[in-house]
């Protein structure tokens, strides 16, 4: 018996040593008894590393995904009241109505409750928000894979965006901002096509729509205008 026998390691310490959570190396080099117990424990636990797990072929992950995809919820996995399209169009419409109503009230009564700049700022920020959301719909349509795309979600969103588009266009025309009004007019026609497209559009129709968005550089122009409107609104 060696001199360290009085301080033998207990089983829990040996287990911790095996899993690397306890440094027993010093003791194990000098205590044959603990070394023997540790070796037996290691043999047992190491043998479980040989437990036979069936091999999966290299395409297994792809197969899992293929089975999983149809089961995934169509829209983003969020609580419905957090989804932007449930409240943003209504908010945008409210802002625009406020703006237009303010303009009309001012014209009729010469009242000065809210400044011209503030109203313009509201419009520009609303326009920017609106264009950002339209951009998402356009991008999703443009990047949808022909033949397999499910555009039901985009169709619904385009439908919701159309109402705000008309109000914004009228407001832009009213302010004499004809470039923005023209862009909104083009956007409205594309959104109308998306909103009226079948849930599973044919590859030819989708391709036509995608080419139209691309040909007119609509996505790019929408993004540029969105950014510019926000910057202008923030400067006012």
């Amino acid at each position: 018996m060696n001199r360290l026998s009085a301080a033998h390691l207990n089983d829990e310490q040996l287990m911790d040593a095996y899993y690397g959570e306890f440094d027993a190396s010093g003791h194990l080099t000098v205590c044959d008894e603990c070394r023997g117990r540790f070796d037996r424990l290691r043999d047992v636990l190491d043998s479980f590393r040989e437990y036979p797990i069936p091999e999966r072929d290299p395409g297994y992950a792809t197969a899992v995904w293929s089975k999983l995809l149809p089961k995934l919820p169509k829209d983003r996995p969020q609580r419905w009241w957090l989804q932007w399209w449930t409240w943003t169009p209504a908010l945008a419409a409210l802002l625009i109505i406020t703006f237009v109503a303010g303009r009309l009230t001012e014209r009729n009564s010469q009242a000065h409750g809210i400044s011209e700049k503030a109203r313009e700022r509201v419009l520009l920020i609303s326009l920017s928000d609106y264009l950002e959301q339209s951009q998402i719909v356009l991008a999703n349509v443009e990047n949808a894979a022909p033949g397999t795309a499910d555009l039901a979600g985009e169709r619904d969103r385009a439908h919701e965006l159309l109402g705000a588009n008309r109000l914004l266009r009228q407001a832009a025309e009213h302010l004499g901002d004809y470039a923005d009004a023209a862009l909104l007019d083009e956007l409205e026609r594309v959104l109308l096509d998306v909103a009226n497209s079948p849930a599973h559009d044919s590859a030819a129709n989708l391709d036509q729509l995608q080419q139209r968005i691309e040909r007119e550089g609509l996505l790019f122009r929408v993004r540029i205008t969105s950014t510019a409107s926000r910057e202008r609104g923030q400067k006012l």
Binding site: V44, F48, P54, R56, Y60, A61, T62, R76, N140, E142
Partner: protein, 235 residues
Amino acid sequence: MLAEGRNGKKASSHRLRCHSINCPKNCGLFSDHLTYWVSKNCWMEWTDAEAAAEARLGNKHAFRVLVERHTKALFRLAFLMTGNEQDAEDLVQETFLRSYKQIHNFDGRASFGTWLHRICVNCSLNLIRARKNRKEESPAIAADPTFHWLDHVAAPTPSPERLTESSQIASMLGPALRMLSDAERTAFILRHYEECSIDEIARTLGLQTGAAKQTVFRAVQKLRTALEPAWGTKR
């Protein structure tokens, strides 16, 4: 036409329509971080956290990245938990489906893999409990005390390989695991195969840290008792 993205990668002209203000890698090749189209040049480089953040926004391609990355490890865990290939495959599907639906609950405190494995363990325990309940309801199965899911792993017919000592030990692994309670088996699998910390095991099993450690220890002790004699004869 080819042109360069912000990180110098070459991109075809359609990719250049880059509107990606939120691309995690800022690669300049994305259309938009919310679109379902993801540049292959970039998404493979996403970390789990980045892909999970995208998946939370509804980007299914980002979720696919996570599926492709974690499927095999998840199958391994599910198989260890159930001992049955078909059950393990079903559990992999169920785990991913559940994780997608609950991804807004993933707060990033643990790694995505840990979070996913926790869901898998819970699904597995539910399955095992359901199987046990059904066994209790089924007199034919309940009357057979030797029936257990691990019997499907250790083939009952001796093969030539089994005649060797090491394979004899290998054939004892299943029955040894079978002796453990569900909690002990889960704790042991998480500790031994998944290399989880005691804290992670405690969180997964809903135990205090000390209790989780004791559960692992009990499992190890039972396995030692079952297998050490075989190692003794080998020496």
